[in-house]
């Protein structure tokens, strides 16, 4: 059993190392922190909103004619999320990372063009949980002093709880991003190794998350702190 797991991990390492070879020149590894380090941190994540397809309410009449009763436009509003993050050094410049984020937002529908009822905006609160796992690669080749750029990619699962937890929906996510990390001391442990991290990320949402059933691209800004315990 253990042997099987090792084989799988080994395979993952090989695949990731191959995929990132272009971004992570081998000559840069000597400048990086050691592998097997653990990094923990807390982030604030700003998820931009989603705009869904406009949908009209129509009614039919005898003779086959239809008319629009009103128009609807629905968005998932931007959300600020609190996030916890853990990373484990697979290689000196490659981290395996996982994060869990939590945020609250609203689903908002704007209703217009109704000849009988005034325009309206109706909402419901939505709570979001996001669980992600992936890798991030340190781009030491482009480091400026203690600031090191990085890129990241991974998969996740988003769980949305609608108003009053009356309905739970979930769906898969993929993400890719990049940013900059600044760490005063890369060696040692504890707060001496604290640093800050800023990332721009694109998250793709699918499944039951999207009201219109479509795949949506959701940009996010993530800022936070980290250290090596």
């Amino acid at each position: 059993m253990t042997g099987c797991l090792r084989a799988v991990v080994s395979g993952v390492r090989w695949t990731l190392a191959t995929a990132l070879a272009v971004l992570v020149p081998a000559t840069a590894f000597a400048q990086q922190p050691s592998a097997r380090r653990v990094e923990v941190g807390g982030n604030l994540r700003w998820l931009t909103g989603m705009t869904f397809k406009d949908v009209n309410a129509t009614e039919g009449a005898f003779g086959g004619a239809t008319r629009t009763v009103f128009r609807s436009s629905t968005t998932l509003d931007p959300a600020g999320c609190a996030e916890g993050r853990v990373a484990f050094g697979l290689l000196s410049a490659l981290d395996l990372e996982g994060a869990i984020a939590f945020g609250r937002t609203h689903l908002t529908t704007r209703l217009t063009g109704d000849s009988e009822a005034p325009d309206a905006e109706v909402r419901e609160p939505v709570t979001e949980y996001l669980l992600e796992g992936g890798v991030s690669a340190h781009l030491a080749r482009w480091r400026k002093g203690r600031a090191v750029p990085f890129v990241s990619a991974g998969v996740g699962y988003m769980r949305q709880l609608h108003d009053g937890h009356t309905l739970v929906e979930g769906g898969q996510t993929w993400y890719a991003g990049g940013g900059l990390r600044y760490q005063k001391n890369e060696a040692g442990h504890g707060l001496r190794t604290a640093g800050v991290r800023l990332e721009l990320r694109a998250t793709i949402l699918t499944g039951g998350l999207a009201l219109d059933g479509s795949t949506h691209l959701l940009p996010a800004v993530i800022a936070g702190v980290f250290f090596h315990p």
Binding site: T109, D114, L211
Partner: protein
């Protein structure tokens, strides 16, 4: 309680349309109900098969036999709906006409030119004490031209299609002001699928587990609004399902909804023929303004949203 007094009371209270609905969440999808013996009961047949008769007259070139064959197809379609437990049996031809209080469920033509927007109608004879359904008649308005041809005839209404709709009523089911849309299928003039109440018949198993309902109350100046048309609109798909407030306290329930957020819109029934839905003696309130409920209402899977309160303005 003997059968005699019950039957006499029922005879005095033949009703032409259904009036009061119950609001049992997730199961009240436009099912008819009424007040009987001081309580609200669901209008339904207590024994099956439902025995029905067909009027023995030739009307508009359609023989009684052809009419019976077309309606029998419609009954068979209902009976074959998965999970439907109701069954029907043709009991013979009769000289009675629909609307006669004779204890016989009768289908046939009546010439009602004054009802120029009514193709057909279902009426019920109900025991006012127990709420038991004693008889349900369907009349087809011979003021329109009809066809029993399998391929349809241009300009003529299709008996089988309209019977399919009315048998839904006969079975104790209702519909909203949405869906009674004419479409042309080949050369058949039929009603759209939305006007057939199959979803209501699927009131067991997967249907209820996979869908949810919204219930609530519509009030005006603190008083219940009777006969308000309440529409649940899915902003993801555009699908609309509607019902009426069917009690004097303004209660409504809309089931068969896809789980997820819905926009709720309330409007008076001022652009439809009220008597298509309510008895003329009922105090349908038309004097209020249409409005949207101020929140998105989330329909849970297999359950009810919980009661919402919608206050409309005069």
């Amino acid at each position: 309680m003997s059968g005699g007094p019950v039957h006499r009371v029922a005879g005095l209270l033949a009703i032409a349309a259904v009036l009061f609905g119950h609001t049992q969440p997730a199961f009240a999808y436009l099912k008819f109900g009424l007040e009987a013996g001081g309580r609200e009961v669901t209008l339904k047949w207590t024994t099956t098969p439902v025995r029905y008769f067909v009027t023995d007259q030739t009307v508009g070139g359609i023989s009684a036999a052809d009419f019976q064959a077309a309606t029998a197809q419609a009954f068979a379609t209902w009976q074959s709906v998965p999970s439907a437990s109701i069954t029907y049996r043709f009991a013979g031809f009769t000289s009675s006409t629909p609307g006669d209080d004779d204890g016989r469920t009768t289908l046939g033509f009546l010439n009602e030119p004054a009802l120029d927007r009514v193709l057909a109608s279902t009426s019920f004879l109900v025991d006012n004490v127990t709420g038991a359904l004693l008889e349900a008649d369907i009349f087809f308005n011979s003021a329109f031209t009809w066809s029993v041809s399998k391929d349809g005839e241009p300009g003529k209404w299709d008996v089988q299609s309209i019977a399919l709709h009315e048998i839904g009523h006969l079975s104790g089911l209702g519909h909203s002001a949405i869906g009674e849309t004419q479409i042309v299928n080949g050369s058949r003039r039929v009603l759209s699928a939305g006007a057939v109440m199959f979803p209501i018949a699927l009131g067991h198993g997967d249907f209820n587990a996979a869908t949810g309902s919204v219930s609530g109350q519509v009030t005006k100046n603190g008083q219940g609004v009777f006969g308000a048309h309440v529409v649940a609109f899915d902003p993801g798909t555009g699908e609309q399902i509607a019902n009426f407030t069917l009690t004097r306290s303004g209660l409504f329930s809309i089931a068969g909804l896809r789980p997820g957020p819905h926009v709720i819109r309330v409007e008076p029934l001022d652009d439809a023929d009220i008597e298509s839905f309510f008895d003329s003696a009922e105090p349908v309130d038309l004097s209020f303004r249409a409005k949207f409920y101020e929140r998105l209402v989330v329909v849970p899977r297999g359950g009810d949203s919980g009661s919402i309160q919608i206050a409309v303005s005069p």
